[in-house]
Amino acid sequence: MDFLTLLQVFDSSVRLAVPLLLACLAGLFSERAGIFDIGLEGKMLAAAFMSAAIAAITGNVWIGLLAGIGASMVLSVVHGLASITFRGNQLISGVAINFLAAGLTVLIAQAWFKQGGRTPSLIGGGRFEPITLPFAETLSGVPVFGPIYAELISGHSILVYVAFAAVPFTWWLLFRTRFGLRLRAVGENPAAVDTAGVSVVGLRYAAVAICGILCGIAGAYLSTALQAGFVKDMSAGRGFIALAALIFAKWRPWYALYATLLFGLFQALELRPDLIETVIGIKVQGQLLGALPYIMTVVILAGFVGKAIPPRAGGEPYVKER
């Protein structure tokens, strides 16, 4: 396997990892604040649709992005109402949101565009185009680093860089600011936050809102950067994989990066049976190949990752008086 091939696989891993990463960080904010969220999938889907729809209508992908974030936020508010204000079951709320998004996106798409639940293909300014970073051309001649820079680092859409920047930012926000301290505390022991004179409800809504923003970007990335339009159910289970990555990452931002990159790598390898064949020497049977990312995840989980302890107050509504 030559170096360039390796870079291409990594490049593919990055693209596949980015929606997972954004959704994973989204879940991280929410769950660190004690709100479990299995509705990541639905929010991503809603955002994918709305951003593509609005980008198609306005021809401006940035407006599309905002609209996508807005759609994801609306679902976040529903989740917040159910799980914070009305202290409902967070899992049920998440399940409902997934269904709601799956149904509504197609209904609205059909009503607006009459193209069978799709949006029109995005052209020109309706899409996020890959950005070539400065000197990518000039440096590509430099051995090792050049190709890495030109192939792997350069040439992604802006949202990819946003996603990667979100990792240190999340870390910084959570572990270096007052807001982060409070957010983590509210997921561990809301009563401590409450008696310290900080609003539990306010913090949790803030967390859920950030979750909405990140899911919104993840969805927009799918439909306006990776693709040029929305297709029904296009999130294709990525929200659930992100959830798995979140547990894998033990609710930590840097680990989230590693976990999603690993998942991305597995998925990228699945696309390259030829490489697997050259490495292990035998042709992997087709369906087995498809199952490989999931088998690898289980193996790694069982072999190398210890027990993951979720935020202690996670999943439980904060009830003072019964």
């Binding site: 409902g88 967070q90 049920i92 409902a96 149904g103 209904l107 369906q287 989980l301």
Partner: protein
Amino acid sequence: MDVMPKWAEVVLVPLISLLLAAIISCLVILAIGEDPVAAVKLMVSGALGSTYGWGYTLYYATNFMFTGLAVAVAFHARLFNIGGEGQAMLGGLGVALACLYIPWPHWSFALLGAAVMAGAFGAVWAAVPAYLQAKRGSHIVITTIMFNFIAAALLNYMLVNQLRPKGSMDPASARFSETVHLPSLHEILAPIGINFSKAAPANISLIVAILACLALWVLIWRTKLGYEIRAYGHSESAAKYAGISPVKITMIAMIISGALAGMMAINNVMGEAERLVLNSTEGAGFIGIAVALMGRSHPVGVFIAAILFGFLYQGGAELALWTSIPRELIVVIQALVILFTGALDNMVRMPLERIFLALRRRDV
């Protein structure tokens, strides 16, 4: 100490929640330019207005009872089994193998044998994540999600490469022989003079599912094992104090859970399709999560929630048949029902509690 009388909690709250979901659904129907009144009528009469409708409603409900119970029993041990889908797929494989390769003398033996196979296959598929959770601390939510994907690949391999009869392009097993045909409700009820629709797929598995509800009720609330499962679910530290082994409970609860999910296959694979098709579970494993949550993990609740979802499925089918309402609308209606009855129930409960409290104060 409860603020509300039990009937209000059990009947009034869900009913009002359901009503809210219905109202919003009607608004959505209006918004896409259809007639909500006609739609509701169609759904109700289509799903509940005839033995035919009931036959389909109950058929779907049977699936959801199995998967709902599966999720519920794991919940009692505080284990979140998202793997019902994969376990049900494996159960289907078990049923297919039992029905295709064993010459059963009579359907009753076949049902028994197939149920055992389905349960065993489902149980094995749940046991691996359970073992990894108990012994290695691998989070069961991830492993069961992964096992769903792996199950899909395995089933695909079995159907496309192994079980598919030669010459058929349908990735499905051969049809099972007539001897393993399970009696439908029509055949069961005819001798006692009830004329039940012949066309509907509801079959004797419904009775198995109801028995499973009963059995689970007994298990959870009447047996030592159920007592231990619940104890472990409520407090692991206390369970240890009492000498209840976490490993044992995790394994047993998940094995029961997987077996129940797997047993769904006697309904859809053996009872309805009479062959194994690629997409036989159709998300029933995931609906099971909603059913269990809405049924508050109680077998009676699961039973009722399963019927509700059966109604939504069959009512939705009727809508799809006779109107041009897109099928996604039905998904939206399902979502609203789950949201209002399952997650926003306190929105209804809180004001009701206040009313009942005020009433009580006045009485005193």
